[in-house]
Homo-oligomer: 261 residues x 2
DNA sequence: TCATTCGGACATGTCAGACAAGCTGATAAC
DNA sequence: GTTATCAGCTTGTCTGACATGTCCGAATGA
């Protein structure tokens, strides 16, 4: 197994530490820390320049970014203000540019929850057409395992088909979005090394379990299989999970409270 | 009972036509129109300045915004490029203005999944401080029930505190985002009518169940209580759920397969 | 001939200062 | 007391310059 942590996200190269990024994050944290009420006025650009020791261009760039993120509004002649609903306009998984390892683990965990729910619903609601679509993706991956090809696209289609079978359009959209962020993470499973080390076959076995449960309408089993699949996928990628993963402590009560890295 | 889901927020004021906004939109449209492939290089800032007849500051501000939106990436010394996955950078729940009833049901369902997971994790990982925060919100709602006041803010704080106790920051951010979309829907529970018909007391009883399970570290019970709470909340709001809700068919296997609308 | 090194050209990133445009509040005029 | 005006703040935009990172080709060396 590769001991290197592969972030599932397409890394835009080694991140150059840009000043505006740093300032934007500082201001963002500043708002979050003090839990500033919507409408609260931020310090003026001049003050921010002095406080961070940067030029006005950098401060303006940082604020411009916060504006685009929806957590700050500015009005000429008045100043900058905490937006009425910070973060309300849309949701994005990765804040900013740098992705910490703990963030990756968190995202895997979040995704696992939703995939579990999707599989449960799919088991209850799947139509014949849904089943056929899921089965087709499964079969494509099966061939990829046998022939050593890449089943990445089919892998994606498999998960999307399950989401669609849930009958919940919002759920489908969310998982599609998350899946896009994870597109890079499917490669290690299906590349040459993935076939050699058995990652592909292992993943496919989990896929079969999920499909089987959905096919026979066993919601509970489908959900658990989906969660197990996501957990295993995270492990295959070397993502360090929280000390208290749901999968290994759900049964036993009162585990010691762990800390995220 | 208000069966309309009111988007919480409001119109961002009459937007003064800022140059950088205009330029940003033009560039965005330019990318969309030509359907530029990811990685395609954009014109240099100098060229954009000439083309739009503005200064470099404006162009930089516009590009900065596109960067924040995730559809453009820049690299010093090289240029600006169309991002790998333009448009897939963020997720928003409610499409457009008109929200179909089925969409609301879908969102409730999606939220229930994540809240269930959050409660499970909170039961496993909650610190003493987490418990105190959750308890404080619970107590505030308790007083609201007794005195007939509005516990909407505390209601929000309760759910956010549980999300925070999960130790998963991405999860917390997602639920905060979803909660914002639902802020209007908490009102019918806590207004005069809500107290009179017992909706507030009912909701509070569910809250107590969730807290109790989290407090004693019972992940499974916490998760189920959270899901039951969300389902009940949807029912109180008159949201028409799918024919096959998870809550009533998860135990019994092989229910008749329903069809999603 | 081939590999290495170096420097110029060009990109974005940052800095500094200035003016334009918009808002607020106090002052002055009626 | 009401209105008009203005001074002083803010953000928005312009301009010019330098810093830093990247590419590419020429000069250099083996």
């Amino acid at each position: 197994m590769s001991d290197k942590l592969i972030t599932p996200f397409a890394t835009p190269l080694d991140r150059a530490p840009r000043l505006s990024d740093r300032v934007a994050r500082e201001i963002e944290g500043w708002i979050a820390d003090r839990d500033l009420a919507p409408g609260t006025q931020l310090p003026t650009e001049k003050i921010l320049c002095e406080r961070f020791g940067v030029s006005r261009a950098v401060v303006r760039e940082a604020i411009s970014r916060l504006k685009a993120e929806g957590c700050v509004e500015t009005r000429q002649g008045l100043g900058a203000f905490v937006a009425a609903a910070p973060g309300a306009s849309s949701f994005r998984l990765l804040g900013g540019s740098g992705v910490a390892a703990s963030d990756v683990a968190d995202i895997f965990e979040l995704r696992a929850m939703v995939e579990r729910g999707a599989a449960e619903l799919a088991a209850l609601r799947r139509s014949a057409a849904d089943l056929a679509r899921i089965a087709a993706a499964l079969e494509e991956m099966e061939q990829a395992v046998r022939q050593g090809g890449s089943g990445a696209a089919a892998d994606d289609a498999f998960h999307v088909a399950i989401a669609a079978a849930s009958g919940n359009r919002q759920l489908e959209r969310f998982l599609t979005y998350v899946g896009l962020q994870f597109s890079a993470s499917r490669q290690p499973t299906w590349d040459v090394d993935g076939h050699r080390t058995g990652r592909a076959a292992e993943s496919q076995a989990e896929h079969r379990k999920i499909f089987s449960a959905i096919e026979r309408g066993d919601a509970k089993a489908a959900g658990e299989a989906a969660r197990a699949h996501l957990d295993a996928a995270a492990a295959r990628l070397g993502v360090v999970a929280h000390q208290n993963g749901i999968h290994d402590t759900l049964q036993q009560q009162h585990g010691t409270q762990g800390e995220a890295a």
